[in-house]
Subunit: 211 residues, 2 copies
DNA sequence: CCTTGTGAATCGTTTCACAGCC
DNA sequence: GGCTGTGAAACGATTCACAAGG
């Protein structure tokens, strides 16, 4: 298979969200054009995105909503569950631990860890904060695939090194720091400061930020 | 000025972060190559990104760290402060309200709002949660530029309509919903579910997710 | 000799346009 | 007739490569 652009994967995720809404409304079939307007893109883009993975529609008719949901789920890897550990039980870690959106999409939080003794043992929804010393043992035992980092920027790299050494193969980084991961590990970063700064640029340069 | 790609703005924000680290370490001068390796890009990319805004270096020498920090701050619109309102005082809204990264970069949180009477009046760090009924009045009075949305997906569009009608010109959307903004309003979305799904795709298709 | 700034070349993504099929 | 799937064209971003300046 040829390499797939991140932008394509991101759109597939959005298509999936809309398809689920359409399904909930009882719509059985949908055209690439309908899917496109709901998401602010073009019908050609929708068809091209899907074409990388096969052909899912019927010419003259469109796509079967339920089938396409299944196909995109399969493409994105949502036909199975994934186990997640959250590292850092500060404000953001705690908020994420209780975020319902994880579970409803097949991401199971199997552990949350902190270094601060005051936090260890406290309950966040279903789950109890454990000592950061147990990270390695738990990862080796429970084999989660994904680590969500919610630690201070200064320790982010050290923590990523620990979890990837222990066997984590995907990292979602909320820490305000750029981190390196070894080959074979997928990494994504969500950086609040950067998002705000892009907004500030947009405010400062009306009409000049592309898109 | 020609339109600037979002990817360029995002990199400028990262360069700024590294330049600040270099400055803290007392480094006076830096080459595009040094800036590039710290950020995983190329020296040509660094120079091209900067070239859209002027010429900031000295041939044979590189860039003065302090000057370049000032120039990038100016470019990004960080030479002034921006006022922010947070809509929704649930877990994520509350976490953001207390996020130190806002203030240290010149983003002042001037209000946080919720609909739930149990939350109204509670203190989050410095600031007290106010009724969502005061949103319009406060926006007209305090003239914040940025709204950060931390409300449930179902009400996100209605809330965006309210704040943009009241005069907000930039929105950072953490609600798990696609929203439309009127022309002239900058919008960015951070969608946890999408980020996780991109990771799941990466886990499911090793070697096939571009970069 | 080193490093910037930048046009030109390359690469990747999006859009177009139409043949093929329902 | 309507809509998909897909090569080809257009566009945009990144990389190359070098002239110009310290």
């Amino acid at each position: 298979m040829k390499p797939i652009a991140e932008s394509t994967v991101r759109r597939l995720s959005l298509y999936l969200r809309f398809l689920e809404e359409f399904e909930a409304q009882g719509q059985l079939t949908i055209s690439s054009g309908e899917l496109a307007v709901s998401r602010g893109t073009t019908s050609a883009q929708v068809r091209k995105d899907l074409s990388f993975f096969g052909s899912f529609g019927k010419r003259g008719l469109g796509y079967d909503v339920r089938d396409l949901i299944g196909s995109i789920r399969q493409i994105l890897g949502l036909h199975r569950t994934w186990s997640v550990v959250i590292i850092g039980a500060g404000k953001i870690g705690a908020a994420l631990a209780q975020y319902r959106g994880f579970a409803t999409r097949g991401f199971h939080v199997v552990g949350i860890y902190d270094k601060d003794p005051a936090r260890i043992g406290t309950k966040l929804g279903e789950i109890t904060v454990r000592s950061d010393l147990e990270i390695e043992r738990d990862i080796e035992r429970l084999r989660p695939q994904i680590a969500v980092l919610c630690v201070p920027g200064e320790v982010a790299q050290a923590v990523v090194d620990r979890v990837t050494d222990a066997g984590i193969t995907a990292v979602l980084n909320f820490a305000p720091a750029q981190v390196q991961v070894p080959n074979g590990v997928t990494m994504r970063a969500v950086n609040m400061a950067t998002e705000l700064e892009i907004l500030a640029f947009g405010l400062s340069h009306p009409e000049e930020l592309a898109s």
